[in-house]
């Protein structure tokens, strides 16, 4: 579990810019802090740069300028493998290994880290219960699970080695509305119990308001502002206001 005090900064973006190989700008001068235990939602349209920003944290992408700091050290100084082992990663397509059972999928990182088998088995049981799956699913293969079950396994897998940081890239986006709502509610409960530092990418304002302790609005590669959920709904910034208006319209 994280030993950080509640106010300490776990993740930082300092004047971060990111460009493609051809020079097209993806992110421009991002400055952001994420504190221990908070859930920062990166909210924005497609192409706003939110996924790119997320991937800079676990170095699936590299910065062009500036630095991203994780637990006080620049990502460039971290060994990428060690960095990623401290960060749980959940993506929309889930990416479960099709040739592994649920149990082997969840237990992969603990196994690579050399945990003894009994500890791994116990951890898998614990995680299955945590994400709301029956223990008997442990022996199933991904293709035998529903979309909602698969994503629950994905979350369990990301939490397996108990990393202090969790990165989630539109994790519930591919689920049907009912399953999505159910999983969001459960995840909200989980967030509070886990106390982890979470960065959550979504384009869905409702999801952001429900799950986030703070919202960072991204537009065209720039950070348009950070808000608490309540502040966001009152925001006068045009980008934020447009989001809220669209949200209200959809609510009718």
């Amino acid at each position: 579990m994280s030993a950080e005090s509640p106010d300490s900064v776990v993740l930082e973006f300092r004047h971060v810019s990111c460009r493609t190989e051809e020079g097209r700008p993806l992110l421009s001068d991002i400055n952001l802090e994420v504190r221990s235990g908070e859930t920062l939602v990166l909210l924005g349209r497609s192409g706003s740069g939110k996924t790119t920003a997320l991937k800079l944290i676990n170095r699936l992408r590299e910065v062009s300028e500036g630095e991203v700091r994780v637990e006080g050290r620049a990502t460039a100084e971290w060994d990428p493998i060690q960095l990623r082992r401290r960060i749980g990663y959940v993506i929309q397509e889930v990416g479960l290994f099709p040739h592994y059972t649920v149990e082997r999928n969840i237990g992969l990182v603990p196994r690579l880290e050399g945990w003894p088998e009994p500890r791994i088995r116990a951890r898998v049981e614990e995680l299955l219960a945590l994400v709301g799956l029956e223990s008997e699913l442990r022996g199933r293969y991904p293709h035998q699970l529903s979309g909602g079950q698969r994503q629950r396994v994905g979350v369990a897998r990301a939490l397996a080695a108990d990393p202090p940081i969790l990165l989630m890239d539109e994790p519930f986006g591919a689920l049907d509305p009912l399953t999505r709502a159910e999983i969001q509610r459960e995840f909200r409960g989980l967030e509070q119990r886990l106390g982890k530092t979470i960065v959550f990418v979504t384009h869905d304002l409702r999801e952001g308001l429900l799950l986030g302790t703070r919202l960072a609005l991204m537009e065209a590669g720039k950070l348009a502002g950070t808000y608490s959920p309540e502040e966001f709904l009152q925001a006068t910034d045009p980008t934020a206001a447009a989001y809220v208006a669209a949200f209200r319209a959809a609510e009718q």
């Binding site: 676990n58 960095l83 082992r85 990663y89 990416g95 290994f97």
Partner: protein
């Protein structure tokens, strides 16, 4: 016909074994070189064009000509069986390299991304994810390579390496049909056996991914 087979069964058996040894040795070499090469192609984009081009050329050269070229290579050209195994290995390379490359590239990008995000090293990614998932495709390449090798190995007799081609060539020069068939049929059966045998293993492996 059958009587000819029966009367010469010892020699047919010996030539079949010789044939299998030539093909077997070449296949082992081709897999030992081809699979790592295929893996390298997935990691280093700049290698792709030269390597695939080279393997393509090796396949296009007519077999007898390839044997001819190898004849003048020191050490390799000195002995008929070395030359043959070298030629067969070169022929087997393209399907194996290409299938290894295609198989690994064909792994679901989401799986690869999740694996990298979890902190798997490149070696762990290969061993735990990419290779197990592409085993079926790689084996399909091995199967194609084996069948090609068995066929090309019949030419080996022309350079004195033995194998079932002995009967085919001597049968041709003696204009003895039975002799020709005594070489051709076992070779064909060998090819069919390799094809179905490896095909079975391939299906078993594919069932798991």
């Amino acid at each position: 016909m059958l009587r000819f087979f029966y009367e010469n069964r010892a020699q047919i058996f010996e030539l079949t074994l010789e044939h299998m040894w030539l093909v077997g040795a070449a296949m082992v070499l081709a897999v030992a070189i081809g699979v790592p090469l295929g893996i390298a192609l997935t990691r280093r984009a700049w290698l792709r064009r030269p390597v695939l081009w080279g393997a393509n050329v090796a396949q296009t050269v007519p077999s007898l000509a390839l044997f001819g070229f190898l004849f003048s290579v020191p050490w390799l050209g000195a002995r008929a069986d070395r030359m043959t195994i070298a030629a067969l290995t070169l022929y087997a390379l393209l399907p194996i390299v290409r299938n290894t490359f295609t198989g690994i590239s064909g792994v679901d990008p989401a799986v690869r991304e999740a694996a990298r995000g979890m902190g798997l090293t490149d070696f762990q990614l290969l061993r735990q994810v990419e290779l197990p998932l592409s085993l079926g495709v790689i084996l399909a390449g091995v199967r194609v390579a084996a069948v090609i090798s068995i066929g090309v190995a019949t030419i080996a007799a022309a350079v004195g390496a033995g194998g079932l081609g002995e009967f085919i060539f001597s049968g041709l020069s003696m204009v003895n049909n039975q002799r020709i068939l005594a070489g051709a049929i076992p070779a064909a059966l060998l090819a069919v056996a390799a094809d179905s045998g490896l095909g079975l293993v391939e299906r078993r492996l594919k069932a798991h991914s």
